[in-house]
Symmetry: C2
Amino acid sequence: MARTQGSHSDITGPRIRSAALRLFAQHGYAAVSMRQIAKEVGVQAGALYNYTPDKQSLLHSLMDRHMRELLAAWQVEAGDGDALSQLERFVRFHIRFHMQRPDAVFIAYMELRNLTEENFAAIETLRRAYEYALEAVLKQGVASGQFTIPDTKIATLAVIAMLNGVMTWYRSGGRLSLEEVESVYWDMVRKSVTA
Amino acid sequence: MARTQGSHSDITGPRIRSAALRLFAQHGYAAVSMRQIAKEVGVQAGALYNYTPDKQSLLHSLMDRHMRELLAAWQVEAGDGDALSQLERFVRFHIRFHMQRPDAVFIAYMELRNLTEENFAAIETLRRAYEYALEAVLKQGVASGQFTIPDTKIATLAVIAMLNGVMTWYRSGGRLSLEEVESVYWDMVRKSVTA
DNA sequence: ACGATAACTGAACATTTGTTCAGAAAAAAG
DNA sequence: CTTTTTTCTGAACAAATGTTCAGTTATCGT
């Protein structure tokens, strides 16, 4: 009978993914070789090809999973309420979620240019879906009169860019707790979209 | 007698720099070979080594020049006036300056990890100097009571991150003129730092 | 214990990499 | 024109690249 599952594959597989994630984030996709990844896992380079058809697919797979987890997590977090409280929830969620996966975040927007055309398009679709989740909140706030925004598309991108900035400098154990950082950013975002 | 200058070096040199800039921005430092750069210039790979001791120095040199031009340009643009008008000048300057050099901007913060330790430290110093130019304005505004900011360091980084977001989506000839984009961002920044 | 299959090794492959260098070509200086 | 110096070629180098695959090893179901 066919084996239902391999003996090590459910261990080696994730280890490969996490090694690749770390290395891609640290040195960049193009600068990391399959042999480096393999070494980190404690395996020969050839063994990687039991888990990915090629290097490109490995990158795409990492980005794809990250984006899907992001969307799913927001789906869970998003609730009802007025635009202001929804925006606050988004801001705090975004910072918290992304701070938990700095490597995946880094890759997901630094390595876009290393994707093939088709893979790029696929990731881009997911990214836009996430952006639209925020834009929907902003639009709702404009409709209800709670927000004053000249252009919701620009505001969406501006807010996300601002929040993403946290990742470039925040290190846990620093001067501020994550909770405090969330509040500071929420304060700035709130003011920037209200009159 | 020693020649004062080479005959072609003042042509080939800049061409190498601009080809490298374009290619690094498009595909990433690690993904671009010296032969690709040479081909773009119409020269053999070996010839590049008359203009740079190695690939790493070429990258560092591009980033270094960009940062110095940025600082110099702001030095010229920065004037006196109250904090609010200085902040507006900064916002508009930042957007305008960076939109004129998308490739250099891209490289300057995407390829940091591909610098050697020493080169990284050097660029980092310049970047911090620029950040401090903005922070000085924010501090002045807090002192004068014009701004309400819980933490000027975070606000500095948040504002710059927000402004940098423009580069990821704005394309000239789009829906909005650069002037309009400047105004939208200035509006958001102004509100985010005032009460 | 035995046979089947999954997981991995280790070597090989064709390319490509950054860099060097002797010598040719070109241009300026005298 | 002749000499000197700059600029570039073209080939060469060792090392590293992604990927393949026949064969070994380990683990499972029976």
